[in-house]
Symmetry: C2
């Protein structure tokens, strides 16, 4: 059936600080794509866009940041449906979906920070990042954005000149500029600049937590959601102290200006030659006063202490990308025991299985073979540390629902995104018996948290905030339930009996 | 509401000549993506893929052919929503959507040949190329594909060695290989190998008509649909006789093998330096016996004479990409007369307007300002010449429905594609009062033509085949109607009073 579509010379048009923008309306949603929120010279801090006369079209997604590697279609396309987009260094663009253009509407605002570490991805990289459904479902304003990544966003060339003083963090400075733009303009898109929730997954989750430790962003958001983006180790950094001189020698340049003029492709190629492949993901913000450093290392900022947070991960994460087990549905207890024993040692199999069943009573015990031990222990540490500050609540979650690919699979890194975005219909694997209810629980948690700072709502069992002694954890499944310190024992056993994975060296990452 | 989704270890699996493939099922549709239909060394003829043991996944779209220019998001994204995808020379992939995997089902098969001249595009380039809706609506098998383009598909290096004998046409040879694969395998996907319709738009339409003149494809398809892809001039060719030696000198290579080993990017960059920007689209098949040359130049092949064809264009084509007129809805007769007079000469305004109203009584007379005079006269000539051969019918159409962008616009090149694919819901501008009925008329015409070679069905007025004397033409609008030599006078006046556009030199093409 035909939808409502409007894109005339008169509507929808919104006034921003720099000038007028035309978007389009599809059914109840107003959409503005590819809004330039800042300009920036390479490695310099972003500046506001120049004002313009008349009306500019905001109908097309903007350029995404150039990526280290040419993208490849992987066997994981069914697991994480991608969208690719033209790349350009000039990539400070954001997109808006909203149900109202009334500046008195004051709807909650959710700003999505994409994943891909600090090196890859874009605001439209995954099919499930489309904001229309979440905006409709939650009656709120959804913003997605692109910003500088990898060597353009997180490479320290401050020794080459004063203007590069924050070059190690300009990727995050773009995020602050985007939030500044939202702060100054979102009212005209029906949003409440004083009710902004930043949310992100993987690298995007790390962006949320790093913005909580960035004083320049202190007044630009009120709440945060960190999805599969908490680590208690420094995942990305490698020693780059001698890289800059080697890089300049290789490129035969002498000054910062000359280096800043090298086109992206030869620059990143030379960088990879100097650093090696391990450098491809080795980017992230660096503490320098502008950015304080992650809370678990540098302590919680005053800002973060008073920020309601929702933090969680999924049961399989990177190990979930592997193929599902052929005998998942049919394995006997003895076969489960053997499989678990092969991985953790036969002598520990019973103990591990018992701990898993206690932690995740509705899950398939074979999931213990792909259980994530990278993000989850860090989530637990993060939320219980954060919970010491009682000015704002902290909510913990875990996503465990079995996905219907192969003969059933534990959910992988990113598998939860379409449910939280209320985009299950757009992503094939998100369709199975109970998936509608699962999506209702997950999206309603997000929407209620964005609205009030509390995710509780009638679709879910009572979900208490974490306390330092009790990590209440919403375990999202077709029938979700709340655990209390549910996997303390399991985590201890898994870490004790299984190798300590370094996900970026030991595990083939599919995307 | 959750859809049905199946992708287990057991289903859906289909046996092909080379081995087993696993796809997935979404609601009633079985989907197989990224099936390799051939292999090829650069500039050599394609060869069948090597057989494999076990089951291969066909879940991800395959690489698309490398493109001359890095893609840019244009202001036309709302007009032609794009999908970008990773590029690689090894790009012989096809995708299948089908309602049955029963080898006795024998559903009609439609094979889509994408546009972009012979230089650009891909089988998934436009959002509207998705085959699911057309497969469901028509209960038929839809195939889309990628093949070699531009310098990889249509560059004559035959002087460099026997194995390069058909290098000027290997892009089309990939198409033949794909049709061969369909011929040999589509039965297992529920398709009828003896009822194959090839259809394509723009360059894709030219691919359809060139395959009608390619003896190697004679038994591989039965019907053709040429959308906005008929020309009566050689649109792409420029004199390339001295390019090869200059290119080899620039790249400092001596042999075909050395040239074939140059990576794509330096190869195409050197080519553009030698030929200039005008070379970016200057690719297409060349008559050499394997390919006979276009019918309007070389005469109709015996194959084409007996091939039912549907041929048409849209009213605005490339001129339709411009912005809509601000006063389109409000212009008085006098304002229309002035605008038309400015373009065609004031002394001809009344004559032109009268001819336009006679030709297109339901259209806005301002559309005469953007009326296509490139494709349409060629369509007319092609269908009336083809109609001399009465072994198979020829149907003519024109798409004129006003599009709801700006204050209304004449349809542009590609604007018809979502309606024919039954994908109006996926593309914003395709939603307006009457769009459901328009889609029903257009998609049903395609489906009935694919089924029987005759597009007639109850949703449309009686649509006679063309005869040499009477070009019956289905004019698709919210209420479609049939013209008879409807624009003879108009075309004559337009060509007489207005400049003869060379679309690739005089008009800014938005994508």
């Amino acid at each position: 059936m035909a939808r409502k579509f409007v894109c005339t010379y008169d509507a929808p048009i919104v006034e921003t600080k720099a000038g007028k923008l035309r978007g389009f309306q599809i059914d109840s949603t107003y959409v503005f794509r590819g809004i330039k929120y800042a300009d920036a010279k390479r490695w310099e801090m972003p500046t506001p866009v120049q004002p313009w006369e008349g009306v500019k079209d905001a109908l097309n997604y903007g350029y995404v940041c150039p990526l280290v590697d040419a993208p490849k279609p992987s066997t994981g396309e069914l697991l994480v449906p991608h969208r690719y987009w033209p790349e350009d260094e000039n990539c400070q663009y954001l997109n808006i979906w909203t149900q109202s253009l009334d500046r008195n509407a004051k709807k909650p605002v959710m700003v999505w920070l994409h994943g891909g570490g600090f090196a890859a991805g874009s605001g439209i990289e995954q099919v499930a990042y489309d904001g229309e459904a979440l905006s409709v479902y939650g009656d709120l304003v959804v913003v997605t954005l692109n910003h500088r990544l990898n060597i353009l966003g997180y490479f320290d060339v401050s020794s080459l000149g004063e203007k590069y003083w924050n070059s190690a963090n300009v990727g995050n400075a773009d995020l602050v500029a985007a939030l500044q733009w939202v702060n100054e303009n979102i009212e005209n898109f029906g949003g409440d600049p004083n009710n902004v929730t930043i949310f992100g997954q993987s690298g995007g989750g790390m962006k949320v937590s790093s913005l909580c430790q960035t004083p320049a962003a202190d007044n630009l958001f009120q709440k945060g959601i960190v999805m599969s983006g908490t680590t208690d180790r420094d995942m990305f950094s490698i020693d780059l102290s001698d890289v800059l001189p080697k890089l300049m020698e290789k490129l035969n340049v002498k000054t910062g200006e000359e280096l800043a003029a090298v086109p992206y492709r030869p620059l990143i190629d030379a960088y990879l030659e100097v650093v090696g492949r391990r450098g491809a993901m080795a980017f992230g913000p660096k503490p320098n006063g502008w950015y304080l450093g992650e809370a678990l290392f540098a302590g919680f900022s005053e800002r973060q202490k008073k920020t309601p947070l929702m933090v969680g991960s999924v049961i399989g994460e990177f190990l979930g990308f592997g193929p599902g087990l052929k005998n998942r549905k049919t394995a006997t207890d003895e076969e489960v025991r053997e499989a678990v024993g092969k991985f953790y040692g036969m002598e520990h199999a019973d103990e591990i299985i018992a701990a898993f069943k206690k932690a995740y009573p509705t899950s398939n015990p074979l999931d213990v073979l792909v259980i994530d031990t990278v993000f989850r222990p860090a989530v637990k540490r993060y939320v219980t540390e954060k919970a010491k500050y009682t000015e704002a609540p902290t909510y913990s979650y875990m996503f465990v629902a079995e996905m219907p690919i192969d003969n059933g699979k534990a959910p992988w890194h990113c598998a939860d995104i379409p449910f939280f975005f209320h985009n299950a219909e757009m992503v094939e694997y998100c369709n199975f018996p109970g998936s509608d209810e699962l999506q209702e629980q997950m999206a309603s948690a997000f929407v209620n948290f964005a609205r009030t700072g509390n995710p509780n709502n009638p679709s879910l069992p009572e979900w208490p905030a974490v306390t330092p002694e009790d990590e209440a954890c919403m375990i999202f499944d077709v029938k979700s339930y709340v655990g209390h310190n549910h996997d303390n024992e399991l985590l201890e056993l898994c870490r004790k009996y299984a190798p300590n994975f370094n996900i970026f060296e030991n595990i083939k990452v599919e995307h």
